[in-house]
């Protein structure tokens, strides 16, 4: 009983005495558990159930819970290992003084118990305190009405306690095992194992350069969004490999080169800095490379989600040129006119007017091109090698473009986004068409070319020719399903609310379900219900967009903040533990004639390099990735490159400010340690 009291008191005293290390560690534990609780609270919030798109948002946030959970475990293990490394000497001393290893383990048990209790309880309190604020932020970002009342998520509390308690148990077991396996002398010597000259391998340096450049070139050569999708992962992988290789081996090679240049090396400030960097890079290269990669990911995630959110109106404009778009399947001109009259009626009944109207009939299906021949490859619909085929009659084309094209027979005008031309001016799709002219643009095409999907558009003579193409498609698919669509695009005046009301009324009008039956491969009759018409309204989709991209942004910033915290803490710990091993070095330098000012300056330059090397590389990565990322944003319909640029710069600035603040704090603590005033 008494002994337990002794251990618990020893543990408490240890924590106070080691507060320089314990305090940031506890702060991290508190922050991660609070953030874990909040994310769980948001993901399961009942307010999501009543929100448009709330389910999707909930799923997205649940993903965030998973990411934070995994990250917390890794991160706590990592920071704890720093703590233990620093304290090995202390443990060794206890061991020599007659404390058995299991006594030390008992003491550690109490320390972990206290740490766990403080982290989880304070973390949960902080989490609960800030959860409402985060909920308000989330709802503001996704543009939903703010929920009332205060709510505490019991399930999230339970998850937080379980996760963190288990993590602490694992950490305790791991530490105890480490102590069990080590010899007291090894413990005592702890940090000061033989300092060998690090070797920078030329081969690895060369590999680093090659992979980094290959990654960069891939990223810079991206021409279309689809390209970007395919090369993205390869480029990222190459750059990661290159970063690690260059940090680990390249840095040493560079320092060796600097050391060979005698007129550079033997200057007072370079001398200590270059040789100091040798050991820093040897011990920290991997850590710094990880920080660099982590920072790059944070910067890219936050800047893309940020610009997606800010550029949402652009995206919506691109996706929906008009407020409303009604598509009728297999419609004749009479049907289109009838629907238009009905719609006009609804709009006017609601006291609004219809504008920017355009109606047309077109045909569209996917084809595979071989030379001058387009065919419908039913077997191979999953392959990447396909084009989208559009056809309009000359009459529709004239109406849409204001030109006056006259065609007869199998004459046609052709547009294609493909680079290979149609030779001999012919094109076969079912029948043979002679191309009497090539077009620079085609009116009804949407965003396929920007996605990297090629398009072929044909203007044919008349209704007969259009029906012939439709017949070819029906025959190829062996179905009665027509590929001819009637499209009505229009705007209305009135508020967003008015448009939402209109949207539901028009949907009721056009969205008539049609049921038909067919006999499937097993000879059984199947009944299918489809719609012969559908409608999209900008206002309805705007809300979905806000939920989706707002959710992205929230998650991006939230995870970014956690990663940033991790980055900063890792660097802090690294510098602090280095300060202790550097202290004797600087003491010697002062004895042989270095002034306190020179020591301070040497420290500043070294800490500066260690701090900003990863950031500088991260900025370089982000800059090179810029083109590729802006193409990728094109996949999501964001073509506003200047906007993405501004968002990137803002993200970078905020990141740099946080980073610099931490740097200044760390450098001060480091100097205090080195100058022996601690």
């Amino acid at each position: 009983m008494n002994r337990l009291r002794l251990y618990s008191r020893l543990a408490a005293r240890n924590m106070v005495k080691n507060s320089r290390f314990y305090f940031p560690y506890l702060l991290t534990c508190i922050a991660t558990s609070a953030m874990f609780y909040i994310m769980g609270f948001l993901a399961n919030n009942p307010a999501l159930d009543v929100m448009t798109g709330g389910t999707t948002l909930g799923q997205m946030l649940s993903l965030g819970v998973g990411v934070i959970g995994i990250f917390s475990v890794i991160f706590l293990f990592y920071t704890n290992s720093f703590l233990i490394k620093r304290r090995k000497q202390e443990f060794g001393l206890y061991n020599l003084l007659g404390m058995e290893k299991h006594h030390i383990a008992n003491m550690l048990f109490f320390e972990t118990l206290y740490a766990a209790f403080i982290s989880i309880s304070v973390g949960l309190l902080t989490g609960i305190l800030f959860s409402k604020l985060m909920l308000l932020l989330l709802f503001k970002v996704v543009g939903a009405l703010t929920p009332m009342g205060f709510y505490i998520s019991i399930s999230s509390i339970r998850a937080t306690i379980t996760l963190f308690a288990l993590t602490f148990v694992a950490i305790l077991l791991f530490t105890a095992l480490q102590i069990r396996l080590s010899q007291p002398i090894a413990l005592i010597k702890g940090g000061q194992v033989g300092e060998r000259e690090p070797k920078g391998s030329r081969v690895i340096t060369a590999i680093g350069f090659l992979t980094l450049f290959a990654g960069y070139i891939l990223a810079l050569k991206v021409e279309s969004p689809l390209d970007a999708l395919f090369t993205f992962f390869i480029a990222v992988l190459l750059v990661i490999v290159g970063t690690y290789a260059l940090f680990i081996s390249g840095s040493i090679a560079l320092l060796k080169w600097l050391r060979k240049r005698k007129s550079y090396y033997y200057r007072p400030n370079h001398f200590t800095a270059v040789s100091g960097m040798f050991y820093r890079m040897k011990q920290n290269a991997t850590g710094l490379a990880s920080i660099c990669i982590l920072s790059t990911m944070v910067l890219i995630t936050v800047s893309t989600t940020f610009s997606l959110y800010v550029g949402m109106e652009d995206i919506i404009e691109t996706r929906f040129p008009t407020d409303f778009s009604v598509t009728l399947k297999d419609a004749s001109n009479e049907q289109i006119n009838q629907t238009l009259a009905d719609i006009r009626n609804i709009v006017e009944t609601n006291g609004q007017t219809l504008s920017n109207l355009s109606t047309y009939r077109m045909l569209s299906f996917s084809v595979t091109r071989q030379g001058n021949q387009l065919s419908v490859d039913v077997e191979n619909t999953a392959s990447n090698d396909f084009q989208i085929f559009y056809a309009l009659t000359a009459e529709e084309f004239n109406a849409l473009t204001g030109e006056s094209v006259q065609l007869s027979g199998n004459d046609a005008l052709c547009f294609t986004s493909m680079k290979t031309p149609f030779e001999n001016g012919t094109l076969q799709i079912g029948e043979m068409y002679s191309l009497v002219g090539m077009l620079d643009s085609f009116p009804v095409i949407q965003d396929e070319p920007s996605l990297g999907v090629d398009v072929i558009g044909l203007v044919v003579a008349d209704e007969t020719a259009l029906q012939a193409l439709n017949a070819y498609n029906e025959q190829a698919y062996g179905s009665e399903e027509s590929a001819i669509q009637g499209v009505l695009n229009f705007d209305t005046d009135g508020s967003a609310q008015d448009k939402r009301i209109l949207s539901s009324q028009i949907t009721d009008l056009v969205k008539q379900p049609v049921t038909y039956s067919y006999i499937d491969g097993n000879g059984e009759t199947q009944t299918v219900t489809t719609y012969v018409a559908w409608m999209s309204a900008k206002e309805d989709d705007r809300m979905n967009f806000y939920t989706l991209y707002g959710g992205f942004l929230f998650l991006g910033i939230y995870l970014g903040a956690i990663f940033l915290m991790a980055t900063v803490l890792i660097i802090y710990y690294k510098q602090i533990s280095e300060g202790f091993s550097d202290q004797p070095r600087f003491e010697i330098m002062q004895k042989v004639g270095m002034s306190a000012d020179e020591v301070r300056q040497s420290i500043r330059s070294q800490v500066l390099i260690v701090f900003f090397l990863p950031l500088a590389f991260a900025v370089l990565h982000v800059a090179v990735a810029f083109k590729m990322m802006s193409q990728l944003l094109g996949v999501l319909n964001l073509y506003n490159v200047p906007l993405y640029f501004i968002c990137s710069v803002i993200t970078l600035l905020i990141f740099a400010v946080v980073y610099t603040t931490v740097y200044m704090r760390t450098a001060r603590t480091y100097y205090k340690i080195v100058s022996g005033s601690l």
Binding site: R196, R585, M589, G593, S595
Partner: protein, 255 residues
């Protein structure tokens, strides 16, 4: 001419909260002539290291003054202290204090680099010293590859390269085996014969017996001193040994 004069030096350490104070040096006065070889002896806790730190201007005395070449150390502004140490004093420590990130050559260069000298000049100065100390072949090695004796010779080379007026040695033989000790003491003697002034703090009788003069410190004051004059080192050894016995058995100064 006295190179170093110490007048009524006193150093009192006070605990952090000003409660208790410990007198490390009470009233120490002595002087070292140009070209002398002086050993300071005393038991642990007698204030030897405190004295050396004060002489090196690493620590400020509570009262009293230290004159180096007639210049009072207390009047040197703290900004110039580092340069002063670099230009006038050489240090040899018990635990060598080599920097493990530097090669032997760079360790020797360190004070000159800090003084802003060019590589060629540094090399020109270092070559004869390294050759004399027998470490010229080791220049590209790193401290962890050296024996204790080699490390100490590197440290001596580092101390000598600035051509210091006074070489201060703090227990230089403390971490060496007997043959390395022997060779180090021979080196010191040879240096002294060439005119180098040496001040060594030690509790090794063997080391002190090589010096021309031995000062004994006890309870913070200079308690006794012995001159070697023309005696052999062996005879000096016996005299020091006797003096120490007298000191520890509480004999007084007039004995």
């Amino acid at each position: 001419m006295a190179l170093l004069e110490v007048h009524h030096l006193k150093k009192v350490y006070t605990t952090r909260f000003g409660g208790q104070s410990v007198v490390a040096l009470n009233d120490v006065s002595f002087s070292v002539e140009q070209g002398e070889y002086v050993a300071i002896m005393g038991e642990s806790g007698s204030g030897k290291t405190t004295l050396l730190n004060a002489l090196a201007a690493l620590d400020r005395p509570t009262s009293g003054e230290i004159l180096y070449d007639k210049q009072n150390l207390a009047t040197i502004p703290s900004k110039s202290l580092a340069a002063f140490r670099r230009d006038h004093l050489g240090f040899v420590f018990q635990d060598f204090n080599l920097l493990d990130q530097f090669s032997v050559q760079d360790n020797i260069f360190l004070p000159l680099v800090l003084a802003g000298k060019s590589y060629d000049e540094m090399f020109r100065r270092m070559k004869p010293i390294a050759e004399r100390l027998g470490i010229f072949d080791l220049l590209q090695k790193y401290p962890y590859e050296l024996s204790g004796g080699q490390k100490q010779r590197t440290a001596i080379a580092r101390a000598l390269i600035t051509e210091p007026g006074l070489l201060l040695a703090d227990e230089p033989t403390g971490a060496l085996d007997s043959s390395a000790t022997e060779s180090l003491l021979k080196t010191f003697q040879a240096l002294n014969e060439q005119g180098q002034t040496l001040l060594m703090v030690t509790h090794s009788i063997k080391a002190a017996a090589h010096a021309k003069r031995v000062l004994f410190i006890k309870d913070g004051i200079v308690f006794h001193q012995l001159y070697k004059a023309h005696q052999t080192t062996e005879a000096m050894y016996l005299k020091i040994s006797d003096a120490l016995t007298a000191l520890t058995t509480g004999g007084d100064q007039n004995e």
